[in-house]
Structure formats: C-alpha cells, structure tokens
Symmetry: C3
C-alpha cells in the first residue's frame, strides 16, 4: 500500500514512549522510539545496517544505541559512532532518523521529505488550552483494517444510526441527508437532527428532559486526523448552527496511524465543555466510546476481509457517501503529487534478501 | 479451484438453519442463510454491494435484511428496497439470490445457472420413506481437504482394509479386487468378501455366530453425494448379490460440500434395515462411524498437505483406483461442459480491491 | 532456498531414532526414519507414490513399511514389494532411499548423489576417543532462521562480547580483531584475549584466581558443522597458542541441519578436558550453554524476520565479518559446482498438484 509520506502522523501518546527502546511500526516501516535523558523523543530506523538486527533489541549507552549483535553504536542522528574491531566507521553505517514533535501529550512524527517538515502544520485545537474545555485521552484502538476504510468511517455521519444505535446514534437520524464541504485540508461532513429524542450518550450525560436538537460534524484533517464535533441542546432553545457551544458539546478526536496496509491504530480522545473536572464522568464517557468504537472495529475488520477476496462487481456508491468519496479523491491527489514532486524519494527499487 | 456449478449441493442439515442470519461458505462463495417467518430457506450473497459488509452481520427487518453499516435493506430476492438518505434505490444495489430446496431434513442449494435448476435432479432414496428402514442424521465432518480427494475416498472400497481395520474393514478384504461400473451420473465400485470373519461393525450390530458374506457398494452420485451400501449375511445363507436386503444392511450417506479449494464439509448419516426404533443402537453406530471417519480425516488432511508441496514425480495409479479414476474423468468432463456451455457465467474478470 | 546436497548432514542424535516411524525434514524434504530390527537406521522419502500419504503414518510389517491408505508396502531400499488388489508391482512404485551412517551417537545422512557418498568424509574428532577428554550431548535447538545466518554466527568470534556478556564473552574482547584462515573445507576464525578477567563460563568452571589468557577458535567445517574451541589459562602461565591443552579447554560442537529455507535445527554438544566423569559439571555447563544459545536464537530469529522484509539498501560488511564472508563465498562456490557437475540432479521441473 502506498502511503502519503509528507504528513505529520501520531507516533503515540506521550505516555507510550519512555527511556526504553521500543519498536513502533508506522507506514510499514519499523522504528525504534525512546526518550533521551533530556526527555526529547528520538525515532530511528529499527534495523542495524550491518546484520539487520532491530536496534530495539540492543541497549542504550547514554543517549546512543548499541546494537545487540556486534556492538555498532548509533547516535541520536542515526550516525554510527563506533564499529568494534576497527577504527573507522564507514559512511554507509547509519540508520535513518525521523523528526518528532510533542504537544498536548501527543508525539507526532514526520515520515517524509525532511525539508518539508514544519511543526506549524501539526493539528492543533484552541480548546486544548481553553479553560471552558477539558481534554481526556482514551485508548489506542488496534484495527485489522487499512486506514482508508477507517478514515471513511470518520467522515461519515450516516453510519451512527445503524452501527451505534445505543450510544452515538438513533433511528431519528436514519434518513437525514448529509452535507459536505471542504476547507483547505479539512473535509467537513455534517447533519443536524432537530427535535428528536436524545441519543444514548446524551441521555446519560446531558440531563435533558425533552427533545433535543442534535448535531454531528465530522472534520477530517487530511490525511489522518478526525474531529467529531457532536452535541445536543434542548429543542426549545432553538440554537443556531454556529452556536453549538451553548449546548453540551463533545469533540471526539481520532488520530489514525497507518501501521501496515492492513492494520491501523486509532488513538482516540475527547474534549468536552461539560462535567469539567469530573474524572468519573470522563471515565464513563470513555466507557461509552469503547462500546461504540468496538462496534466500528467489528465492521471495519469484516470489510477488510471482504476487500481481500475477489469480487464479482464493483461496489456501489450512494448519496451519503459524499464525505468518503471526497476523502478518497483528495488522498489520491496527494499521493499523485508526492509521486511526481518528492525529490527525496529513493528512485532505486527495494532490495530484497534471497538465498 | 474450479467447481461444478450446475449441481445441487447440500447447504446444511435443516437443523443448522433457523431465523438467525448465518454465514455459510459454499464453492468459495460466502452466503447468508436464514428462514423466513414461513420457514422457507433464503440464501443470499453475504456481502452488501455498498461497503461490502457481510449481510450476516446486519439484522432482520421482517423477512428482509438490513445491512449493519448504513442500513441498505434487501428483500428475499436480493433486491435492495431501501437506501437511507436517498429516495431511489439504484439498479446496481442488489445481492445474488440462490435457489434452495428442503427434503428429508436436508437443505440443498443450486449455485449455478438458475434456468437449469430442477428439484427433480436432487438426490433421493426410496428407503427414506420405507417403513422397513430408518434414517438417522450424523454429523458435519470438517475436512481440511479438497472435495476431490474426499470423493475419491468415497468411491474406493479398497481403503477400508487398511484405514478402518477395527470398524469397517478387516484383513480378509485386503486383496479382493474391486469392480466398477457407471450408470448415468452414478459411479458404482463394489466388492464382496465371502465366508470370512465379520468386521467390527457387524460384530457389534449383527449377532452373527459364524462367518459371513460381506459386501461394500460405493455409489458416487456426481458430483458430491455418496451412498455406501454395506452389510453382511451368514455365509450359510449364501445370499445372491441382488438379495442384500436379506442381510443386515446399512447405507452410509455422505453429502460433500466444497467450502473452498482446500476445505470440505462431509455431512453424513445412515439408513439401516435393522434395530428399527432403537435410538441407542443408532447412537452406537454413529459412535463407530465417528471412529472410522476420523481415520479418514487424518489421512485426507495429510494428503492435502502433501499435495500442496512440490513433487518430484507424478503419483502412480493402481488397479484398485478404477473408481477414483472414473470419478476424476467424469468431473473433468462436467467442468469442461460448463466452461463451454454455461451462458450464465460472467465473462468479465474478477475485480480485486487494491489500494 | 538452494541447498548443498553432496554433503553429510546430521539427521539426529542416535537417541532420536528408534523402531517407530518418525518424520524428519531435511533440506526441505520429508523423510521417514526408523531402525530396522538389527538397529540400522533406514531413511526413506516420506510419501507414498500412490496417493501421497506420508509413510510415517503407516505401519511397520517387519522391517518394511505398509502405507496406511491402501497397503502398498516398501522395503528398506524403497522398493514397493506389495500392491494389494493386484499381482504385479509397477516399476514406478518406489520411494527414494537415503544413505545413513552412525557414529559417536550421531546419525548422519547423505542427501546427494549416492556415488559420491563416502563415510570417510564425515566429520570426526580424535578427542571423541581420547581418555583425557569427555563428550556430552546437549540439545536440539530449533531456530526459525535459515542455516546461513546460523553458520555465520558460528564462524564469528566477535559477537560473544555483545550477545553473551554473562557467559561466553565479556567487554575485554570487544575491540580485539579477528584472524581468519582456511584449511581445505575448514574455515578458522580466532582471537586471543590476553591478561583479562575470566568470562562467566570460566569463573564457574575454571577455579582461576587472577587474570587469564583466553582464546576463541571457531572452526567451520563446510557446510554445516562448527567446532568452537574456547578456553582459558592463567596469564602467569603465558601459554603458547599451540599449547591450549595446558589450559581449561572446551569444544562446543554445533551440527546444523537445514530443515527448510527458514528453519534450522542446531544440535549441540560439548567435549571438555576438565571435570572428567563429573556429570553435575557437565549438566551445569549445558545449563550455561542454553542461556547463551537462547541469546543467539533471539537474535537469529529477529534477523530472519528482517531479511524477509524489503530493504532500502544493502547491508554493510565490517572488519570482523571476515569469517562469515569467507563462509558465504565458499558456500556459493559449492552450490555453483553442484549446479554444473551434479549429473544426479533431476533436470525436469518439479510437478505441482493443482486442481
């Protein structure tokens, strides 16, 4: 599977990376991640250029890594600084190093052309620093699914009525059309369901006594970050579309990390403008999210298995697919652009070991 | 693996199919099977044409199926009757439907050209309705083996001497030649072993005091149904070949369902002209069949593994292989016929998902 | 993977082979091994030429094997001597037989051109029969690794400093260069570490009070036998390189059997000139070897996994790789020689079963 390389991906929650040498697989590449003694996150190619042993099986010598097979030692830039048994270190003795950036307890990584890496491009949200909001990290959901199908799911408000009928959707929204627009690198798919029974999530966390106006805004930040802005307000308040902060409002964030062509990690968290400081409410919300996201997992993994079988005819597209279709189109454009303009890519074919 | 499509296959025992949506794989195709409220068995392609989710993961709305991802709903003919979020249902929104037929607590399915499906062609046996006989369903034996090798085993009386020495064969039959004839779509391979010790099965169920005349008739109804007619009578009775009802006579029926090219389900049952109404005897017979068929399973799965390895030379054929050889020849003729005459087959190459 | 066929390989310890029919896989070929009633080891192709059932699933009739499916019977030369149901045995009814040789409780097998099999070529060591030495068989270490990487490890004195720091190496040897020479079919890689702390192994088994002179000689007998001659003597004794019997000296023998292209069995044992007759010391030494060889296993299996992935660039070679590099070169020469001169090889392409 071909991946977009010139993009910031989430490597992990900050809590997943410490002084130990740990392997992470991102865009089908194996990396060793660890923190230097000063806390900075280092990401190196996890394969010694000599006999190919993963460096994550070696050991730290200060901030450097010594390979566990013959002791070749690499500094944080990936440069080999020692080859036991000889005085020189050949120029070809190096591992690739990757740029990382940490913010809001999230570690981002840049897998592409280093000249194009700009931390200003990293996803951020004003609400992370807003005292009226509170952020709460959830889990890392492992999905045996390619990331494109995960992303489709996250720019698709229509599925909640059928996949999450007890938590994030209900039958009131089944036939409501979806609106889609794009703003730069963000695709937005949304719909409002006015004057209907609250969904399970807001029955539990909204204290609503009557019908509500409910919204679902799916913001897909290309290529792999999704913000689901959903919430409800009493129908009697008749709030305007731009006045969503007047209701109970939740942002469910999903950071998709393509691991391989058939495996994706979805690290999810939420921000909320309600129950501030209430850890129990946060835990209860996450419990409800887990129910919903496990429902997605079951579906996405079944779809992946079907896609791996031969098919008799092309799948069909329907009206509510507009978000997913725009997403696929934009991804293909980005891939096409990288194919033609990325001077950093290696033109030589991959070398495969055979005996 | 190429399968014969214009044939009736057993989809399952009647007891395996109920109101639940269940996936069955037949001829490498995934189907969802369920009973309508009137009890009729419905068989549909188990894959939504939209996002490919198996319909068996959806839910029933009356006799129809609603897909679990976006709610597309299909009636019992496979036609899409609802696409949430839009008013029309595109013509390409359908799943394939398959013809089924139920008799003697067995559900048959037709996977080929619908115009050629004729229930009159379905295997039947007068003894199912004969008061002097009793039928008893056994198990569904799962075999990691292609169906051709399973079928060979079921048109091969010679193997019982070596594979089933304690149940269905003994050393008396080791060197007895096998006769083979064909009658239309039935291949018969048989032999008589006169004046010898009873086999284990008839020691237990025959009450014989001395030597017996024993027969094994293997009827292979092309492509996938086998009737093993075996029995014994006291040698002193000197029964004629056509007088087998005078002895203790058993029909072991095997309905082979090719699941994939390397997996077959053999649903087996027996009919007997002895111990009528004796459920304990029936259970004891099945216990002995289980011993024997597990011996076949061990051999067929080992053969499958060997066939998947490269070989240095072609396997040899010997005199007792006449039944299997006729079987292979007939299967190849049937496949050839379908290749050249089946106008219902789809001429376009299979579409495979890639990203 | 292409293997050298004209060579003696270890099939197993003598204790692994008895009267039972057992499958062994060597050079990606499945064999059935068993002892005749006179104790001689028979090795036959483990696949009946009729329906391909492994003969190891059949049963012994005296010294012969009867196939478990239809009773074809093969003698110890692989010739079919009985086909039930017919009087003749076709010439094509045979299995390949392999030459074996047993000595020092080790069973060797010749997988190549029979005319070239000469037991005089089998690895031997005078110390097996020397009263000043004692031999002790260890284990059969199963490695998910091709044999070439295992062999590299066994002609590479440099890795012990990093892979086995508590048992067979320590930091004193990290930077000591390696010498390599070849003597006929033996590659020798060695180094001395003079005047340093004893390694873990000799702390436990050497009774040394001060610094020692330590040696590691890695003899790789092409293609698959390794003798690691290692030992220590008090530095104050200043022994000469050829005087190693004056110190505490151990031979660790490794017999590599390539099972498949990705799987190798390393049967290892030791000979020692110390603690003669002391079974407890022998067991303690083996316990320490197990720690060390499990360290090798972890590394070799990780390297195998990496080699199976595509690579961006060729691996580098460094100064201490001289032994492994000579080994690879010699193996390639031997393979090339067999390709061009082995008249026994089958020129026809392998036959693969397909349906």
């Amino acid at each position: 599977m071909e991946f977009i390389r010139n993009a910031w991906y989430v490597a992990g929650w900050s809590s997943e990376i410490d002084q130990e040498l740990r392997r992470f697989t991102i865009l089908d590449e194996n990396l060793v991640l660890y923190r230097k003694s000063d806390g900075a996150v280092i990401a190196l190619e996890d394969r010694c250029p000599h006999r190919l042993l993963p460096l994550s099986l070696g050991k730290r010598i200060g901030d450097n890594i010594q390979c566990g097979y013959h002791g070749l030692t690499f500094d944080c830039s990936g440069k080999c600084i020692r080859v036991p048994g000889q005085n020189n270190t050949p120029a070809s003795a190096y591992v690739e190093a990757f740029i990382t950036f940490e913010r809001h307890n999230i570690v981002w990584i840049w897998m592409g052309d280093k000249d194009k890496a700009d931390p200003a491009d990293i996803f951020d949200l004003a609400e992370f620093s807003d005292p009226d909001w509170e952020a709460h990290q959830g889990d890392a959901l492992h999905l045996k699914s390619n990331y494109l199908n995960v992303a489709e799911n996250l720019v698709d408000p229509a599925h909640v009525s059928f996949v999450h009928p007890t938590t994030l959707g209900n039958s009131a929204s089944e036939n409501v059309p979806v609106h889609v627009s794009t703003e730069g690198k963000v695709i937005v798919a949304w719909r409002w369901i006015r004057d209907s029974e609250p969904i399970g999530f807001f029955k539990k966390f909204g204290d609503f006594t009557g019908n509500v106006d409910r919204w679902h805004y799916y913001y897909l930040h290309l290529p792999c970050t999704a913000v689901i802005d959903f919430g409800s307000a009493p129908t009697e308040d008749a709030i305007a579309e731009d006045d969503r902060n007047k209701g109970v409002r939740i942002f469910a964030l999903h950071f998709m990390t393509p691991v391989t062509g058939g495996y994706t990690i979805d690290r999810w968290m939420h921000l909320r403008n309600t129950a501030l400081g209430d850890e129990e409410a946060a835990a209860n919300m996450d419990a409800m999210f887990r129910i919903a996201f496990d429902e997605d997992k079951a579906i996405l993994e079944a779809v992946q298995q079907e896609e791996e079988r031969p098919a008799k005819r092309r799948p069909i597209r329907i009206a509510i697919d507009k978000g997913p279709m725009v997403y696929r189109k934009r991804i293909n454009e980005m891939l096409q652009l990288e194919r033609t303009h990325d001077v950093a890519s290696d033109p030589s074919p991959a070398f495969v070991y055979h005996d």
